[in-house]
Symmetry: C2
């Protein structure tokens, strides 16, 4: 099996010769090569420049035997053409200077045509896809809830209290907001496939702030809409969240091809709950890459052991690589996954 | 049934006439009465002064029909006699100026005798207990992991990366640290019962940062030790954590009488997983108290509906009351729980 085939085969639940592996934030601050570029360009500048974004996307692929690339971008980019005044302030993370705080703010959001308004990302997708020589490229977008949380909070948040209060106080405006975000996310994911992405991931990083009931009523319908639109492209859709152990079944019912989970739930427990046909991505704790390399390898093996050679496993972290991660630990984990992939594939065939 | 009996009966899994309710941080910043005292005294001053701490403990009981009091203190207090230079910096939360960063820091921690070193808290427990006229008083302490995280990080943390890295790099020192913390926590909880507390709660607020495997290997044995020691007092032990939906069974096996869970897992799902004899505390999202009062009441009802009239339910939030909470919403929720308690008790008797 060629290296370029494993990831998409696993997304479709087909047998693979090795467990495919890519890592969230595989292009990013832990790499000296990336920091050298960031020293001269802002995050938004890199995202807006297809040449720079292509270079950054390709950096980890030159260093590690990854099974997929992921386009370098930011989940908040679609909020800019919607009218958000977005800034990445040093040390503070993203800030939105005109957050959505009242129902009247929602209809002021602008409609987005990704081909016109996010053309810079689509050009990066085209450029990267042309240079990957058969390796799959993953496009991505933020899920409606996580985008809504940034829009309402005006930045990262610990309790997401403003967002959840908005949902309680202004249910009609909340649903209007979520419908707009679902449309943008769905169209943007589809446009990335049309530009050359082989798969797309929808990041619902903060959705674990919700109760199962709130997720089901106020978020799931919009995640489902966005996923439906993305799947109409024909490419597999991956759907990722953290702190979702309380409502995996609901999130799975949103209809993505692959569900991405964090390390807070065992992969084997997740498969027991979702059934053997579920395809799962994850779920090594990113902190495991900060310790001794042998420990990182052992924990990667433990993830594969929980996967138990089942079809439809994409190895990944349970969240993005932390900036303080030593690149040699990334290499060790990627190689460790590929080294033990084969017996697991044999096990899967034997079943 | 007298108001003072419900909480302990529910902790023992006995039938009650109304679901007992208390709320984490029921004494705190959301109350104007508390803010008036805090305007003149620091948090550590209040905790160190049994008269002030007693007053603050009693404030919410004068306002709301709560079924238990909880002594006003802070989970980090035992770290001070252990040698931590603790400061509550305005707007930053707790800071520890001499964090545990290397294995050599662990044996430098001092042994703690709660009766000598935490006598101020025990005097508060005595004073409050004498004034409650039969209402139960809950004592509390931080669980070993959450205390370890504060000690290692030097304050609150998003990823707990230093703590988890310490555990990976220095397993022997980690286990030494956890054994010391388990001994302090167990002895401190027991001393609070001896001073007059009717029950104790162990807060493992940050334990949800861990994978099930890390919890089982590196935390559970020490939580179990502390709980055993606390239970030797004869009083019920409540054991609370957030983000624990992935390892409820493991946490339950630590042996507390009542398991406290957050809103990220449904109460009925938790009972299905843990069995009908499990006693559970929770689990309304504290943000539910920031919306319209009718919505707060409806969500309190939904929690009772998931509890389904089972024995062994203590109503609470899934985490502490947020400072921006309107006191009238607290009253509405407490009253709503008591208003619908009766039919549930009937249901329980009918089974």
């Amino acid at each position: 099996m060629r290296r370029g085939e494993r990831f998409l085969a696993a997304c479709r639940g087909e047998a693979v010769d090795r467990t495919p592996v890519w890592l969230m934030r595989q292009a990013g601050r832990y790499l000296p090569e990336y920091r050298a570029i960031r020293a001269r360009h802002s995050l938004l500048d890199i995202c807006g420049d297809p040449e720079l974004a292509t270079e950054v996307t390709l950096q980890p692929l030159r260093l590690f035997e990854l099974d997929a690339a992921i386009v370098f971008a930011d989940i908040l980019l679609p909020l800019v053409p919607m009218g958000a005044r977005l800034e990445f302030a040093a040390g503070e993370g993203p800030l939105i200077h005109n957050p959505v705080r009242s129902p009247a703010d929602v209809p002021r959001l602008l409609e987005v045509d990704p081909r016109r308004d996010l053309a810079h990302v689509l050009r990066t997708v085209e450029r990267v896809a042309a240079r990957l020589e058969g390796l799959p490229l993953i496009g991505f977008a933020g899920a409606p809830f996580t985008l809504a949380s940034y829009l309402v909070e005006g930045g990262p948040s610990r309790h997401h209290a403003r967002t959840k209060t908005f949902l309680l106080r202004h249910p009609a405006a909340w649903h209007d907001l979520m419908a707009r975000l679902a449309a943008v996310t769905g169209a943007y994911l589809r446009a990335q496939v049309e530009a050359g992405a082989s798969a797309v991931q929808m990041f619902d990083s903060w959705v674990g702030a919700l109760s199962p009931t709130d997720y089901e009523r106020h978020v799931l319908p919009y995640s489902r809409l966005a996923i439906e639109e993305a799947r109409a492209s024909g490419a597999p859709v991956l759907h990722f969240g953290t702190n979702t152990a309380g409502f995996l079944e609901l999130m799975h019912s949103a209809g993505a091809d692959v569900l991405g989970i964090d390390w807070r739930v065992r992969l084997d427990d997740a498969w027991t709950r979702l059934g053997p046909d579920a395809r799962l991505q994850g779920n090594l704790d990113p902190v495991a890459l900060l310790g001794p390399v042998e420990e990182a390898e052992a924990r990667a093996h433990a993830v594969l052991e929980q996967a138990g050679g089942r079809r439809g496993h994409v190895f990944n972290l349970g969240h993005g690589i932390l900036p303080e991660t030593p690149p040699e630990n990334v290499r060790a984990v990627v190689d460790a996954v590929h080294a033990v992939g084969l017996p697991h594939a044999d096990m899967a065939r034997a079943r």
